[in-house]
């Protein structure tokens, strides 16, 4: 069950590719040329200091209208998704677990999930089948069934919101999922449950980009690659060992190598991606 073998699942087939992506918000450039490739079956971690542009990347991938792509491409299964509205991207199998899921008053989770599943599959899902899938997924994430009758993200605790995002991911079965700080706000038990849930979804076809500040979740979900985003650029990429290095040394040695006395290697890596 605990398939955190990572790279073993990869078949080196490019699933998702971000090319030279530049994104502006209200005329301020936030992303300044991001490149990223996720193969089928791979899990990548994206780390980086607050405000470096991680959520901007996530939102741009999903097509938030406030984030204006000025240059670059987002290729999903070889097709540029940038001309597509968010609903079309979701229907193709892109998924974003939000850092701050927004509340939708009066909209019941169950109805919302049913509509989402219908959109994803392109056809109505029989009630029975829907209920079964929902119950199984609630069970997987150890969520109370009463959840389904509540309003979407309304009055959810921080942790409940994150769990609900993973619930949606599990039900919609995307091909490429971006999880934006899904681990933040989860207590130790919840983190384990959610991580196990994500691991259960891992397989040879799914690509995942885990945005996080912490090593904790990556102890459960071993990433194939780790990237560091700083000031709108990926300034360092490496294997799982990079997570430990970051945990120990912080970001300073990458983002401000001279001051922190980092070796020439790190400086070169930073410049190379700049």
């Amino acid at each position: 069950m605990n398939n955190n073998g990572g790279s073993m699942a990869s078949n080196n087939e490019t699933l998702f590719r971000v090319e030279h992506l530049h994104v502006s918000v209200e005329n301020t450039e936030i992303l300044k040329g991001v490149d990223l490739v996720v193969n089928r079956g791979e899990v990548h971690a994206l780390m980086g200091p607050n405000g470096s542009g991680k959520s901007t990347l996530a939102n741009s991938i999903m097509g938030h209208p406030r984030y204006k792509v000025t240059q670059g491409k987002v290729l999903f299964n070889g097709n540029d998704v940038l001309p597509l509205t968010p609903d079309k991207r979701a229907q193709l199998g892109l998924f974003l677990a939000f850092q701050y899921p927004v509340g939708i008053p009066g909209v019941v989770m169950g109805n919302f999930m049913r509509a989402a599943l219908k959109a994803r599959r392109g056809e109505d899902v029989p009630v029975r089948e829907f209920r079964k899938l929902l119950d199984e997924t609630l069970d997987l994430l150890k969520m109370d069934p009463s959840f389904v009758r509540r309003y979407v993200n309304e009055g959810f605790s921080g942790g409940e919101k994150k769990r609900a995002e993973v619930l949606q991911m599990a039900m919609l079965k995307p091909e490429m999922a971006v999880l934006d700080e899904t681990d933040s706000g989860l207590d130790i038990d919840a983190l384990k449950i959610v991580a196990e849930g994500i691991n259960a979804l891992r397989g040879p076809d799914l690509g995942v980009l885990v945005i996080t500040h912490y090593q904790r979740i990556l102890d459960y979900i071993t990433p194939d690659k780790v990237h560091v985003l700083f000031d709108g650029r990926i300034v360092k990429s490496g294997g799982p060992e990079l997570v430990h290095e970051l945990e120990e040394r912080g970001y300073d040695w990458i983002t401000n190598p001279e001051a922190s006395g980092a070796g020439p290697e790190a400086v070169a890596a930073g410049k190379e991606n700049a």
């Binding site: 999903m62 938030h64 609903d87 979701a90 008053p105 909209v107």
Partner: protein
């Protein structure tokens, strides 16, 4: 001439805009209002002298009073509604039907299309159908009749229950209450009369359906509901009309008496075509420990001015107003409600939700009044407005007259734009923009819709969806 019944208006999203081209009135309707028109109505109905005099007095009030321009005037003065271009009385049938088969085919066809006979069979205690000026069909379940429940058109009640009628008629809303109450009092025709005896609980709703057919029609139904002590009744009204390029007028008066310990809920799903002026006066008198509720859904009409009010007259009385308004292009819903606390330990809730789109305009206009000495009053007013685009508008005009210190009053108001982040969230789950917007709007009005019986909740959600069609994207 006109649209065929099979035709539905495609562009406006309004699906009730057909008219019945075969329909011919049994009287010879004349346009415009005069003393002769008023007397003519009374004569045709063969009314007692007191009612004729009541009408004439009201007609004089109508003549004397200027158009309202004050607080409760909404913005009627901005329209050029021509009262001389209106038919004040159109008699649809010589005699009211006892069964649907008695109703002329072209009229029955319209009510069939509106699903009224079907609803009657499925989940109602009784039904009344008004077409232009008269009720063409009414029926109440036999067991309720046996328990003494009266449900009939107001004209019949005047003939069949003269004493009960006269004791209450015009006591809650006097003919000089406001310009449009005067108008209604002068030319009223049709509407419902309900009496529920002491302790009788009517489980399923009674429903009236008001349909305008004739172009330039003025419909002036008059409703009187008396819920005796400890009784319980839910009355539902629906309204639609054909789409015409010229104006029609609907001006009703609704009076309700909720006696000690009784419970009355009055639900409106108003969906007039957008050429109808809807100028209605509705008021409830609520006595000790009784509960009076308005659920007021305004989806249609060109201009609605309607502020259902609840007078809480004895300790323990509770009033509730749930108001829902949707305004699309060219529409102004000037709605809201009034709660008047005239006795101590009375409580009230006003909850208003409005949605404006495509340059539509909604206004919440309300009053909360607490008389001196009415201590221990608890009242809350909450109004939320949702704007779907930049062109739409919403205003809030809450009046608060609190003349007593020992009270608990809450007031909250909000105006929000259709949230970009909410839309994005739903779209990121695969729903297209229109579906996402619909879902957000349905969620916004949910607190009111969930108060409706399931059948009406479904109907209302469907109407909202029709209204929303083509409004986004």
């Amino acid at each position: 001439m006109g649209t065929k019944i099979e035709d539905v208006t495609k562009d406006s999203g309004y699906k009730f805009g057909w008219n019945d081209p075969d329909f011919k009135a049994v009287n010879e309707p004349v346009k415009g209002l005069s003393k002769d028109v008023v007397l003519g109505i009374s004569e045709l109905k063969d009314e007692p002298a007191w009612m004729r005099d009541f009408r004439l007095k009201a007609y004089n009030h109508w003549l004397e009073r200027p158009m309202p321009t004050g607080f409760w005037g909404g913005n009627i003065q901005n329209y050029d509604l021509d009262f001389d271009d209106i038919y004040y009385y159109v008699k649809p049938v010589a005699e009211q039907g006892k069964t649907w088969d008695d109703v002329p085919a072209e009229i029955k066809r319209t009510f069939d299309k509106l699903g009224i006979p079907e609803a009657e069979r499925k989940f109602l205690s009784g039904v009344e159908a008004q077409y232009d000026s008269e009720v063409v069909y009414h029926n109440i379940r036999e067991d309720l009749k046996k328990q003494g429940v009266i449900f009939m058109d107001t004209d019949s009640a005047l003939r069949e229950h003269p004493d009960l009628f006269r004791e209450y008629f015009g006591t809650i809303i006097p003919p000089n209450d406001n310009k449009f109450a005067s108008l209604n009092s002068a030319v009223w025709s049709g509407g419902s009369f309900i009496y529920v005896p002491k302790g009788v609980k009517v489980e399923m709703p009674l429903q009236a359906y008001f349909r305008i057919n004739t172009e330039n029609m003025g419909q002036f139904e008059r409703t009187l509901i008396i819920a005796d002590e400890g009784s319980d009744i839910h009355y539902v009204e629906g309204c639609t009309a054909p789409t015409y390029s010229s104006d029609s007028l609907h001006s009703a008066v609704v009076e309700i008496i909720v006696k000690k310990g009784a419970h009355v809920r009055y639900t409106t799903i108003q969906n007039w075509s957008d050429n109808v002026f809807n100028l209605v006066t509705k008021r409830m008198a609520v006595y000790g420990e009784a509960v009076g509720e308005w659920v007021d859904g305004n989806l249609g009409s060109k201009l609605t001015m309607k502020y259902p009010s609840t007078y809480l007259l004895e300790p323990g009385a509770h009033g509730e107003i749930l108001s829902l308004a949707m305004a699309g292009p060219g529409q102004h819903q000037d709605a809201g409600g009034k709660c008047i606390h005239a006795a101590p330990y009375t409580t009230s809730v006003i909850n208003s939700k409005s949605v404006s789109k495509g340059s539509g305009r909604t206004s919440y206009r309300g009053q909360l009044k607490v008389y001196p000495g009415a201590k221990g009053v608890k009242a809350t007013v909450r109004c939320d407005a949702l704007l779907l685009d930049e062109e739409s508008r919403s205003d809030t005009y809450p009046l608060m007259d609190i003349d007593e210190q020992h009270v608990t009053i809450g007031h909250e108001a909000s105006v929000s734009k259709l949230g970009e982040d909410q839309l994005f969230y739903l779209m990121s789950r695969g729903m297209d923009e229109a579906e996402a917007a619909k879902m957000i709007v349905n969620g916004f009005v949910e607190p009111i819709v969930k108060e409706l019986p399931m059948e009406y909740a479904v109907e209302l959600n469907r109407l909202i969806e029709l209204q929303m069609e083509g409004s986004v994207g």
